[in-house]
Every structure is written in structure tokens, then in C-alpha cells.
Subunit: 333 residues, 2 copies
Amino acid sequence: MDATLDGDVVHVAGPARERFFDNRGYGSPDGDALDLAPVEAAHLLFRGDIDRVDGMDFRSFLTTTDCTLDFLVYKDLRDRGFYLSPARWRDDTGGADFVVYPRGDGPWDGEVEYQMRVVGERERIDADSLEETLAVVDEESEITYLGVDTPDVTGSSDTDLPTEVGGALLADRVVLWNPPSELYRQAFYGRPLDGRDADGPIQCSLLEGAYLAERGVVRVDANHAGIVDRGREVEGDRFDRRLAVYRALRERDVVPKTGFKFGSDFRTYADVDSADDLGHSEFLVRVVEAGHEFAPRDLALDVRLAHGVRKTMVFALVDGSEVEWLSLSRLTP
Amino acid sequence: MDATLDGDVVHVAGPARERFFDNRGYGSPDGDALDLAPVEAAHLLFRGDIDRVDGMDFRSFLTTTDCTLDFLVYKDLRDRGFYLSPARWRDDTGGADFVVYPRGDGPWDGEVEYQMRVVGERERIDADSLEETLAVVDEESEITYLGVDTPDVTGSSDTDLPTEVGGALLADRVVLWNPPSELYRQAFYGRPLDGRDADGPIQCSLLEGAYLAERGVVRVDANHAGIVDRGREVEGDRFDRRLAVYRALRERDVVPKTGFKFGSDFRTYADVDSADDLGHSEFLVRVVEAGHEFAPRDLALDVRLAHGVRKTMVFALVDGSEVEWLSLSRLTP
């Protein structure tokens, strides 16, 4: 069966509709004939269901139409038992390249399983555009699927806080020499200077110190402004972004602690009753500017690590004091 | 017991030598008296073994001498049962801040367990200077120890290769339409276009394509130079660095495949007999410029991930065609 290429649409004469659309979900019907996107035509050529498009076999068609990435993802999803449509045949796709139907369904049903966006590993992904499921094709043509979601960032870690606790700004940390013990033990601020004495002095990060100072809990000679200045000295703008996220998390009754050991900004605890009995932290949070452009490889690294330690990878997109939350996770369609 | 601060040395009169050096490994003896580095004096103040230094108690001494980071690491290692000396009391320390003796040993013995370098999480670490064990103090004063080593990058994955295999440069990959099956099956180059047909066409990354072309194995119309040009188009200088590392690994009979899923440049297999029976890859390799400056947080991320997937994190430092190898791993002293 042969077909013709017209611009970027491949036409196949009747009864192509019955054979390829009605039974197998390819293309967009045009009476008994069928319109195909190049990626669909490439797949039918690859399978031998179509012999040539304008005289081109699979190899020359792929070279001419340059739809290799799309083809790899399209084929992979078909191999996994899904029917899917290129976005052009749909009007509900946003930034997606494919609409993937639930297994067993097709374009004639109402359900959509994934809005899928195809990305090469060398492309950059704008944080603000992260919405659809990502199919990242790496340099060796392996595909990693990443699901994008809105995490529920709320907790129950709310504690009455003391006021006017004296502290000292020491290099890039804040030390509280005689804090009330609930500050660490219940509210999980800081870390005992001596691990064997949870009621003694505690060291806070600059973020903890700045937040506690703005809440009136901690008083240092340098004042709140002095802590923030120190933070900007050592981290630049990044400090303001991280403080905005720290604040947003605490306001949602979630306890953020450093994510350093996991290479992220924070790990978070939604329900802290006591620092002695913390349980598992749920999220790893990476703070980025609202307009940040992700390298897919960095996303893969973060998501893989979070998965390995049974946490959800969350990105906090900061625009001034506004914070938007996104979670990413590996997905096996 | 009181002490005096003279410049950056703390003097304690006799019998301080007997009490603090002979029995507990602090300082550098001066007859019956003892010289202490500020960090040692801070620790003795903290423990109450010294009352004041020039009238200063622990808090004011720490604030005045600004040795907080060193103090945190010094205290942590003491708490773990080690004796250690500040570098100034030794003449064999290179870039280390502390010399740590084996448990049970002290400065009077000949053995050294760790040369330890103290780093704040916000400092940058020059790749060329990575030699000593790192004690990274994060913003919440937790310490992560990272051991630095030279990995053994050699393997046995050597296969006779065919010549003059035809291929095509397609966007950012190279497709071989009719490769001899051993190229994938034994030598583990490329990836079958159709996973169910390991003897059919294979897709190679630009790195694999460029290396195979320079070895005369693959011939494409664009030639070796065309593949390298394409690589530089999509990755800039980074492509040359990665190609240098790819080549170095293959020359050591180690098979590099993409490390994308682990967020690194390569995962490596030392002993490949067959692509059907690969076993476990041993290293994750990240390629960096020789003069690269690491953020400690990025190191923590890489090392943590590698640990989680039971691989060794290796950094390949590239200077032109020269490659130096470093491995980093978490360490619990």
C-alpha cells in the first residue's frame, strides 16, 4: 500500500480509514481515506503496513521528515500496547506532542491517559512549561518517562513558639545559647551543638535564623536584616528564593530541614510531633527561579535519587514571594 | 585552668603537656607547657577542661577566633573516638586541615588514618585540588565525609571490530542499518532500533558514532569530522571532553554507555562478554573540565545516587586529550 506526502501530511487512499484508523487508531479520517502525521506514516512504514510514501522507504522517509525522536517515543508507546494520536489531530493538547489513550482505548473513546511531550536530552525545559508527562529520549535512544504533578504541600507541624530567644550570628549560622527546649524538641528548629544534649545550645541555619527572627522568636544583635544580609553575602539571590520557600513551607505547617545529603535544598516533614521521633521525610525540594530552564539530565538525577530514598521530588518555582510547587516522578507507562 | 592567646596560638602553662598532650593528644608540647591551635582550645573550653582564654569563655572565644567550622568537625571526630591534630603541628599535611590518627593512636604514633579537609557547603572545591578526605559542613552543621580515591579504570571488554560498516547521521544520532551483529551483541555498541530484533539496525549515540568512525569501523557520508561537528553543534566543548573520556574508557577495555538515567555522563561495564548478559555496571562517570569547581551539594548528590545504585562515583577530569580519574564515596569515620 502506497501513500503520498503533501506538505507535512501523508495521505492514504481508502480503505485506509477502516484498516488503520478504525482498527488501530492511526491518523485522522477523511471519508474512507486517511491523513497521517509523518510519525504515524513512519511507524506504518517501519512495520511494513505501508510500502512507500512518495517512493520513499522507511529509511529515507525518516531521514527526509526528520521525525526520529517522535518516532522513537511513538513506537515505544505502541510497543507497550497504547494507541496514541499526534497533537495535530486533537484540540485538547496544550503543549503536548501526543495524546495517549488508556490501554484498550483509542481516539474514538473519550478517555485520555497521558498528555505526552517529547524532549531530547539536550533540550532545555522551561520550568513554567512543565505540565505534560515528559518522554525524554537520551543520546542512546532510551526513553525515560517523567510524570508531572502538583504535590499536596500541607502538614500538621504547628507549634506555639516562644519569643525573644537570644542568639548570635556566627559566620554563616545562628547559635542560640539558651533556647527553650521545645524550639528544637517540638518545632524542630536548629540542631543541638552537642548531640548528647538536646536541651543545650542549638545551631540554626541562616534560613532558620532569619525566619525565627522575622517571627519575633529569635533576637540577635544583627537583627533580622543582618541575618538576611549575611545570607545574601554567602548565597546571593538564591538566599531570598530559599527563604521564600522555607517560609511557605513553615506557613503550611511543613518542617523543612536541609536536603544537603540528598543534594537538594530541603527535605520536609509534614507531621512532626517530636524531633526524637521524626519518621520519614516525604519530599525533597529543589528551589529554582520561576523562569528556570532545566536540563533533562538534572531532572533525571533528582528524580532518580528521590525515588531511591522513597521520597517525592518537588520543585519550588519562586517568583518574588510567590511559590509554585511541582512534583516529578518516574513513570512506567 | 586558664590560658593565653598570642596571635593565633593559645599557650597553657605546665603541666598542660602531661594532661592534654600525653594523655589526650591535644596541641604541640613546649617543655611542660603546651601550645594549642584555637580549635583545640575551643574544644577544651567547650568541655570545661580550660576555663578561660584571656578572660574569654567558650562562646566569646568561638566568636572571636571564628573557628566554628573547624570546631564542628574537630568535635565530631573526637566524639567518634579519634585523636587528631591541626595541620600546623605536622609537616606532612598537604592541603589538609587536620591529620586524623587511627582509633587508639595519637600524635606520638606513626600512623595516619585520614588527611582531612574541612569545607563549608557554600565553598567551591577545585577539581584539581581533590585529594584529602572531605569533611563538608552543611548549613545546619551536619557533617558529610567524602573519601577521595583513584579508581582502577581497566576492563576486559575487548572485541575485534569489523570495518566499513555503513551508517547515516540522523539528527543527533547515528543509525547503522545493517551492522554485523557482533557490534551490538559482543562489543555493546549502539542499541537495536527494534528491541525485539538485536540483529537488525542499531542506533548509536554521536559519541559511539564518532569513536567508531575514527577507528574506521563505521563509515558515514558526513565522515568522522561531520559527526564531531554535529556533536559540537548540540553540546559545544562538552562533546570533545566527553569524546576524550569515551575514547579513554574504550582504550582501557571498559564499555561506556549513557548514564542519563542516573544523571551522569556514563555508566561503565568492565567485563562485557555479551550484551544479553551484561551484569551490573560498576561506575557512574561524570565528565568535567580539569579546572572545574565543584559545589559540595552537587558532589553530595552524585555520591548519594551512586551509593544508592551500588556503583562508584567517578569524575573524569579532562585537560585536552588527557584524562585523570577520581572516585568519591561516602565515608563513616
